[in-house]
């Protein structure tokens, strides 16, 4: 995955997927004041097409219930298929706090409708600033800080633990798919519980968060989507590890 390059807050390019023309108008005015370049797309597919052609946006703001593909799915596609570490803000109406915390597993922030100018500006600035911190040398998929701290930087231990992560999570994700097919929801919760520390040890908050939700509060109907998400998180981590540690021959 390509990491986001440093980008100034002024003149940031923001891709907006919004179906309500009044809200688009509001956003245009805000963007003008803030000197952001706003690209409005009718739907998620147009946003994907735009990114395919340009791939230089700094932020995607998309409706949760975007048509024909939901905001989640678009965000997922952009990250996993296009390989862009593009920060995403999901816009939504009033939702229960439980659903809100779940959404944050898939996006950097949430903006609630109807849009309030000050809140929108604050949230976008905050998200853009966070993205600026990511340099090309770093990645946001994993960190070895915990393993380094634990082992005092022992290279052999770190390499072997990375190999264990890659092979064991790969296997458990296959198991998850199988037990999902069998509708063994209790086993899904057990597996998620078991692998949560692995994501935690490589400091991937999203993977850890999805495992937590799967283990504790996910409804059965939500499990297929969450397992897909966990797969994407793992694939991103694993691809980055393959790239960073070619000598380990990870698969």
């Amino acid at each position: 995955m390509r990491n986001l390059q440093n980008s100034p807050r002024d003149h940031a390019t923001i891709l907006l997927v919004e179906s309500c023309s009044q809200e688009c108008e509001k956003f245009s005015q805000i963007s003008l004041n803030e000197k952001w370049l706003l690209v409005i797309c009718q739907d998620g597919l147009e946003a994907i097409q735009w990114l395919n052609d340009n791939s230089s946006a700094d932020l995607l703001i998309i409706e949760e219930d975007a048509s024909p593909i939901s905001g989640y799915q678009i965000a997922d596609y952009i990250k996993t298929e296009l390989g862009l570490a593009l920060p995403v803000i999901i816009t939504t109406g009033e939702i229960p706090s439980q659903q809100e915390s779940r959404m944050l597993a898939y996006a950097e922030a949430i903006i609630k409708k109807p849009f309030n100018d000050a809140r929108v500006v604050f949230q976008i600035r905050k998200t853009l600033e966070k993205a600026i911190v990511i340099s090309p040398e770093q990645n946001n998929h994993y960190s070895l800080n915990y393993l380094i701290d634990l082992s005092g930087g022992d290279k052999q231990f770190i390499s072997e633990t990375i190999q264990l992560f890659s092979s064991s999570i790969n296997l458990e994700l296959q198991n998850l798919k199988q037990v999902l097919f069998q509708k063994d929801y209790l086993r899904i919760r057990e597996i998620a519980h078991g692998i949560k520390p692995s994501f935690d040890m490589l400091e991937n908050e999203k993977g850890k968060g999805i495992c937590h939700v799967l283990n504790s509060e996910a409804k059965e109907m939500e499990m297929p989507y969450l397992i897909d998400q966990l797969n994407s998180v793992f694939n991103n981590m694993n691809n980055q590890l393959i790239k960073d540690f070619p000598e380990l021959n990870l698969k």
């Binding site: 634990l150 064991s168 692998i195 520390p197 040890m201």
Partner: protein, 120 residues
């Protein structure tokens, strides 16, 4: 050299515990599930046991009962995740000595192990 049994099924957690405890000078034996743990417990004596509570085949609570019945003086540290409060409380009621959250803090692990081994 103290003998420690680690009962855990997450391979990364096992590797980390093995690394840290061995580095601290302990002799570590690992069981990946409840059955293997029972086998080790029948064949060996341990100075300390570190165990997960959600294990394949034999539950953590069954193991704790077994240990408390057969070697009541062997200290037990439960390896838990933060979501298991009720289960941890139950384990304490069964007589476990301490608990550590996964993934563990290396220094915290060393200190807690040292404290319990010192007691014995």
């Amino acid at each position: 050299m103290k003998k420690i049994l680690v009962i855990e099924d997450n391979p990364m957690v096992i590797k980390s515990l093995e690394f840290k405890l061995t580095k601290d000078g302990h002799n570590v034996l690992v069981a990946n599930d409840g059955r293997e743990a029972m086998k080790h417990l029948k064949e060996n004596e341990f100075d300390l046991i570190l165990t997960d509570l959600m294990l394949p085949f034999v539950t953590g609570n069954e193991l704790i009962s077994y240990i408390k019945k057969n070697t009541p003086n062997t200290p037990i540290i439960v390896l838990s995740t933060s979501t298991q409060e009720a289960i941890i409380m139950e384990a304490f009621n069964m007589g476990v000595d301490d608990f550590i959250t996964k993934p563990f803090s290396p220094n915290e692990l060393s200190l807690r192990v040292k404290r319990l081994l010192g007691k014995n």
